[in-house]
């Protein structure tokens, strides 16, 4: 039985199926169920056009960070960030010192010393690894980040996703001024 939708809260860490990105060469299943291979996306388009296609792809159960509440059961999908356990080789990366000191804009360090994450290893959230997963592919919710930590995630996602917030902020400011009886 998958995780209960009522537990799918922004900032929660859930364990579930996270796919490896489909790439080429790609193995796919023809109408008879035989495995075939296509070298490029152009080959695929020429062969399959717009038809849905069964492909041979890999997935892995991982922890993921939920980016929004997903408590409405009728809504199937939820947007998450991938969480990876840290391997010794990751610490050898030139990027590591900034990750460990929480200064890196694209990776967030989750140290093993913080129990509320309920992660078995020191881990990294990759802000460039945003994905949509089906809620029924989430096994359980365990642990999570607090509001302060999620605010830090938000700040970094603004840059990664190229969110243009200035017009929104300006409009909100005008609304506040109007509600206060001040003409903008």
């Amino acid at each position: 039985m998958p995780a209960d939708a009522s537990e799918l809260r922004r900032g929660a860490i859930a364990w579930g199926i996270f796919p490896f990105a489909a790439q080429f060469p790609m193995r796919w299943l023809d109408d008879g169920g035989a495995v075939r291979s296509l070298e490029t996306v152009e080959d695929y388009a020429a062969r399959r056009r717009g038809r849905p296609t069964g492909v041979v792809s890999e997935v892995k159960i991982r922890p993921v960070l939920l980016l929004h509440d997903g408590t409405v059961e009728q809504n199937d999908d939820i947007v998450v960030l991938r969480i990876n356990s840290v391997r010794p080789r990751h610490r050898e990366s030139a990027s590591w010192p900034r990750i460990e000191t929480h200064e890196h804009p694209f990776f967030v360090h989750l140290p093993n010393s913080i129990a509320r994450y309920r992660l078995p290893e020191e881990s990294i959230v990759s802000l460039t690894a945003v994905a949509t997963v089906h809620k029924n592919a989430l096994l359980r919710v365990r642990g999570g980040l607090n509001r302060h930590e999620m605010r830090k995630i938000d700040e970094r996602l603004i840059r990664v996703l190229s969110l243009e917030l200035a017009p929104h902020i300006a409009e909100r400011a005008r609304e506040l001024l109007r509600s206060a009886g001040i003409s903008a």
Binding site: M1, A3, D4, S6, E7, W15, F20, A21, E58, K60, I61, R62, R82, N84, S85, R87, R89, H90, S93, A94, S95, P97, R98, T101, H104, P105, F106, F107, P120, E121, I124, S126, T128, A129, L139, R140, V141, R142, R159, V160, S162, E164
Partner: protein, 111 residues
């Protein structure tokens, strides 16, 4: 060029010989303070390459995040995306969740 730059003379900063040689060969110099990177020194040619990017950022122009990723960042992102290893700790968590389900099908739903 950016106007948020100040000029100092070579007499005001003493770089060791190995740093001067590195700069002459196009390498970058990282200055650490208490074990943490505190400043970077680039040669003139390298600075000319990144100055337009710094100008854009100071002007508030959006710069795609990929342009801000170093080679090490991109390599690490790829490594993490392709990471297929499973640790004993991860296996133990999955076992624990399955055991919770076996003991009480609703256990994990109330975590």
């Amino acid at each position: 060029m950016t106007d948020s730059i100040i000029d100092i003379t070579a007499e005001e900063i003493r770089l060791p010989e190995r740093a001067r040689k590195a700069l002459a060969h196009g390498s970058r110099v990282r200055i650490s303070r208490y074990g943490q990177p505190s400043a970077y020194v680039l040669g003139g040619e390298q600075y000319a390459l990144v100055a337009p990017l710094l100008d854009l950022m100071e002007q508030g122009v959006h710069v795609p995040h990929e342009l801000l990723m170093s080679g090490a960042d991109i390599a690490l992102a790829r490594d993490l995306a392709e990471d297929r290893d499973t640790t004993a700790g991860e296996e133990a968590v999955i076992e624990e969740m399955l055991a919770e389900r076996d003991a009480d099908p609703d256990a994990g739903r109330r975590v």
